[in-house]
Amino acid sequence: MRKMTKALLGATTALTVWAAMPSMSQAAELTLCWAAWDPANALVELSKDFTAQTGTDMKFEFVPWPNFADRILNELNSGGKLCDLLIGDSQWLGGSAENGYYVKLNDFFDKEGIKMSDFAEAAVNAYATWPKSTPNYWALPAMGDANAWFYRKDWFAKPELQAEFKAQTGRDLAVPTTWPELIETAKFFNGKEIDGKKVYGAAIFTERASEGITMGVTQALYANGFKYEKTPGKYDMEGAVNSPDAVKGLEEYKELYKCCTPPGYTDAYMGETLDAFKSGQAAMAMNWFAFFPGLYKDENVGGDKIGFFVNPKGTTAASTLGGQGISVVANTDNMDGALAYIKWFAQPEVQKKWWSLGGYAVHNAVLNDPSFKDSQPFAADFLVAMNQVQDFWQEPSYAILLQAMQKRMHDYVVADQGTAKEALDGLVKDWAEIFGDEGKL
């Protein structure tokens, strides 16, 4: 009997120790969730320093962009514990703050001396605050980004094409600075045979399922003076969303899509745009700054062959905002570890290394460095773009607002249904219904 008792005690102790082991190892482990793209690889590299300094193992959950929102928002909604840290889209801030998915970081920032004034103001407002532009911080600006353009510099430099373009348009073949110029340049290249291959004018976003076409269309809308509301915070969208300028912007985007995109380009987002450019099909293409380091390094189309430019103007200068902040997930079992990562990441030296590895730091120590503009061929454009960014609604109901816009824009631009005015009028109606349901109208 005594033997049996001893054996039982031993087994119980062993089980207890064994059961405790995973939680011990969990304490020294953090999972960071983000989208699967080029900057994520840079972050893995950067985080090795954090592991070396703190002994905390970093695990990463990178989800491809088309599924990123679905996957991560499902995770948050279901109270999952997959992510300790999350680099989530700026539009998620409203919902995540109101639903208690993110930890409010004001007290932590105060305690650790992390100042938001050390980061670019536009980035702080976009990636960290909710309600927008108020001193309520739910994230640390992690990755500045905007939608911009790149082009085949070597094609633009061909003397015969320059002469032909001059004869045709009366101006030099150069980077377009306005939307009409962009369309004109795209039309010029479209269908041309260059280096024995038929090429197309421009590769732009047309994706339907997630956010693609909205992120593309807004480049033309914002540049033409599109506003979400007449009075900020009043939700008075009539006359703003469907203003004549907005209609003109939408028509320009459709014109660019119809005249100058490669065949089969009806559902294209980041990957397809990169493919079209890298395969030598497109003279110009839009995409996020995040991809530019990779493009510049590309053996076939990078280096001297590629050039970059910010979104051309319409009636105003504007770019569609990308980028994200890093938040601590309220459900984490390792709050101290997650906060320690934020503290480490906010350091100017870490931010500088983040930029050098291919991440878009928005810390003033990086952006205000005199050498920043020349540090990469797209760095100066990045600064310009970040000073003119505009973002989609950051409302808690952003997902429904986005879906409505995806549908209206795709129906008009790709499926040829109705006019630009009808599409934007329909959008006002959809959004008014959504805000009506929310009790905001």
């Binding site: 109101e98 009806t266 559902d267 499926a415 040829d416």
Partner: protein, 322 residues
């Protein structure tokens, strides 16, 4: 010899009875056959209740509320029939239903015609018919995810084989048309893929029907000097009809809730041209997160499919009784 065997069996039974714990014996003895039967099926019933019936009841409950799965802290309020009213008055949902009806109708027509024709040919038992049956069945054995991706490449206007084949036959340049990107062609591109994949299934069911027709009926018809055409219309079709109707029922239900292949091929686009009801439902439930409204739409779809299937099954039974 028999006595010896009986003695051994008796002894063995006695030993087994003795080995069985007395309380268990009493307990089992106390149960009726019906109770024991219930004991056996209870786990399955419980499982069905948990994963089928409970979610259904829960969805019905949610359909009368403003619940949103992405707002766990929000107050859930009853909204009466508002969700149903909005769904039924939403023109986009009616367009999605029309798209679904178009897809279901044409896939069923094509699959039934081609499937039955193939079954009729295979039933002739020509040389190598077993080999060809296997070849025809291959598409059905593939995963819809594989088929969707595979056809997406085939339809690609610049490198896709489909456009090149059409170009070879018609002389139209391959890049001049887009199967998945064109408003008029996209619905047909999905119908083509679904027909390619599921015609073998219809063929199998029709083949079973054709093989179930006894030879003596045809022999009697031969004696009566009935023509082949007459035999086809008076024997083959009526006797295979219950099987054909069964295939139509299966394909109808399956295609009414078609999601994966359409999602992979077009994602409902271009615009909303190929947005079938299940994709609208998914967007409403998991992208817009209007769970209450999505539940009411799901219930409406369920009632529609259930009602139509019931009417159809009654018709099927009537055909079988003839």
């Amino acid at each position: 010899m028999t006595d010896t065997n009986t003695t051994i069996l008796d002894k063995a039974t006695e030993r087994m009875v003795r080995a069985t714990p007395v309380p268990l014996v009493h307990r089992v003895r106390g149960l009726s056959d019906r109770a024991i039967a219930w004991l056996f099926i209870a786990p399955t019933i419980l499982l069905l209740l948990a994963i089928n019936i409970f979610p259904l009841i829960w969805a019905v409950r949610l359909s009368f509320t403003n619940y949103r799965a992405n707002r766990p802290n929000a107050i859930v309020e009853g909204v009466g029939l508002t969700n149903y009213q909005r769904v039924l008055n939403d023109p986009d949902i009616w367009i999605a239903m029309q798209t679904t009806a178009h897809f279901v109708f044409w896939t069923i027509v094509l699959q039934t015609l081609i499937g039955f024709s193939l079954a009729y040919l295979i039933d002739r038992k020509f040389r190598g018919h077993a080999f060809w049956t296997t070849v025809i069945l291959i598409p059905m054995m593939l995963s819809p995810a594989v088929v969707g991706n595979f056809w997406r490449f085939l339809y690609q206007p610049q490198i896709g084989l489909f456009n090149y084949v059409v170009s070879y036959v018609t002389g139209v340049p391959p890049s001049s048309f887009e199967m998945l990107g064109s408003v008029s062609l996209a619905p047909w591109s999905i119908i083509v893929v679904d027909t390619w994949m599921w015609t073998p299934y219809v063929m199998l069911i029709c083949l079973a029907g054709l093989r179930s027709i006894p030879d003596y009926i045809y022999e009697a018809a031969e004696v009566d000097r009935a023509s082949g055409w007459r035999q086809f219309w008076s024997i083959t079709i009526p006797m295979a009809l219950p099987f054909i109707m069964l295939a139509v029922l299966f394909r109808g239900i399956e295609n009414f809730k078609m999601f994966d292949m359409v999602m992979l091929l077009t994602g409902g686009g271009p615009g909303s041209t190929t947005e079938v009801a299940s994709i609208t439902l998914k967007r409403e439930a998991f992208e817009s997160w209007r769970t209450g409204r999505a539940s009411s739409f799901a219930i409406i779809l369920f009632v529609a499919v259930f009602g139509l299937a019931n009417i159809y099954v009654k018709a099927l039974n009537r055909v079988k009784q003839r």
